[in-house]
């Protein structure tokens, strides 16, 4: 994956120099290890700032919303699906974009590493199928597959579904993935156990809204959690308010979430936010045979009516 660097810079330089795009959105090294930042390149000579490694988990589609210029954007499989969703929802036009597709083999879960490393992490290096972490005078080595993001482990769309340039040959898609084991486990709990499970899950939430801010789906000018007239949800740290925020946000992502994992990655408290969005993603697949961001032509299930739609909950 490290070898993608040259190719990405080459393509970015080319499309900027040829005037095909006015800006390229990619990743640059962040100030802390494992957190690459979004990066906006306007001049061909700046492309060397672009990087690609296993820490490019943030979904760049978030930065496309309602932009007017022609844009080159780097897209992993999940990002490309959110770009499709963005186009369907009229947040950007296909013609504005040059999509630089990146076949992806999974991103590293910074929470997994940080929780198993006692010192301050200074350096994280990829070495074949190993990850070497150093800091505070100690070194620890993990198998790459043990520290990937949860959503990457179960990903079935590693290759971009839409692109204009591809930086490398497509990678093999994962087959026979058990995508919903964790969700089924929760579904089997009793109502009281479920309530308790979500109490625990969300107990440490500080309502910083990083999960919302990082999500490409959360682009409303005024989010329901910010509005005060009317006030849809209480602003306090009361567990009921916290849960209302999370449940409603998840519902707003129904049929649109691609399980890109950005929300979970961004959370400073390491809360598994995807536990909610993934349930709806599973329901959309099982009830409407729908996966978000696969096809530009198909309408999302919540915007269409089909006489065969399941209606067991109605009487």
């Amino acid at each position: 994956m490290l070898s993608y660097n040259e190719k990405i810079r080459h393509i970015a330089k080319k499309i900027l120099a040829e005037g095909k795009v006015e800006i390229v959105i990619g990743y640059r090294r962040g100030t802390l290890p494992m957190i690459n930042e979004p990066c906006f390149i306007k001049h061909p000579e700046d492309v060397t700032r672009l990087i690609w490694d296993r820490h490019c988990g943030i979904n760049l589609t978030n930065y496309l919303t309602q932009r007017k210029e022609r844009i080159g954007i780097i897209a992993k499989g999940c990002d490309s699906r959110n770009i499709i969703t963005h186009i369907i929802e009229n947040k950007i036009k296909r013609e504005q974009l040059v999509i630089i597709g990146v076949p992806c083999k999974g991103m590293i879960d910074r929470h997994k590493i940080a929780s198993q490393f006692e010192e301050e992490i200074q350096k994280v290096k990829e070495d074949g199928d190993k990850i070497v972490v150093t800091g505070g005078g100690i070194e620890k080595i993990w198998k790459l597959s043990d520290v990937l993001q949860e959503n990457c482990i179960i990903c079935t769309h590693r290759n971009p579904v839409i692109y204009d340039e591809l930086v490398a040959e497509p990678v093999a898609e994962q087959k026979d993935v058990n995508r919903y084991e964790d969700i089924r486990r929760i579904e089997r709990l009793s109502p009281a156990e479920k309530a308790e499970f979500f109490d625990d899950l969300l107990a440490s939430c500080i309502r910083c809204y990083a999960c919302r801010n990082v999500c490409p789906l959360c682009y409303c000018d005024t989010c329901f959690v910010d509005g005060s007239q009317p006030q849809w949800v209480g602003k306090s740290q009361d567990p009921t308010d916290i849960r209302t925020f999370h449940f409603l946000r998840a519902f707003h992502c129904a049929g649109r979430c691609t399980d890109c994992g950005s929300c979970e990655r961004a959370c400073p408290m390491g809360i598994k936010v995807r536990t909610l969005t993934k349930k709806l993603e599973k329901d959309c697949l099982e009830l409407f045979n729908w996966e978000a961001g696969i096809d530009l032509e198909q309408r999302p299930p919540l915007t269409t009516y089909n006489p065969n739609d399941p209606d067991d909950t109605f009487r």
Binding site: K194, A195, E196, F197, T240, D241, F314, R315
Partner: protein, 57 residues
């Protein structure tokens, strides 16, 4: 909703035409009886600040 711990039977959806009076009555009766059987909800209930204060006092 059930996934997040709300008991089956607490939330009902129905489509009733203004001409379907008997259906309306049936549905309302069913809603009230199932919800009554479930009893007051214990989790996901916000304690109003005033009551919390009264209790503390």
């Amino acid at each position: 909703m059930e996934y997040m711990g709300i008991e089956p039977g607490r939330i009902h959806f129905s489509w009733i035409s203004s001409a379907e009076a008997t259906k309306f009555v049936d549905v309302v009766n069913e809603v009230t009886s199932t919800v009554k059987a479930l009893g007051p909800r214990k989790s996901f209930v916000k304690t109003p600040l005033t009551t919390a204060k009264n209790k503390a006092a």
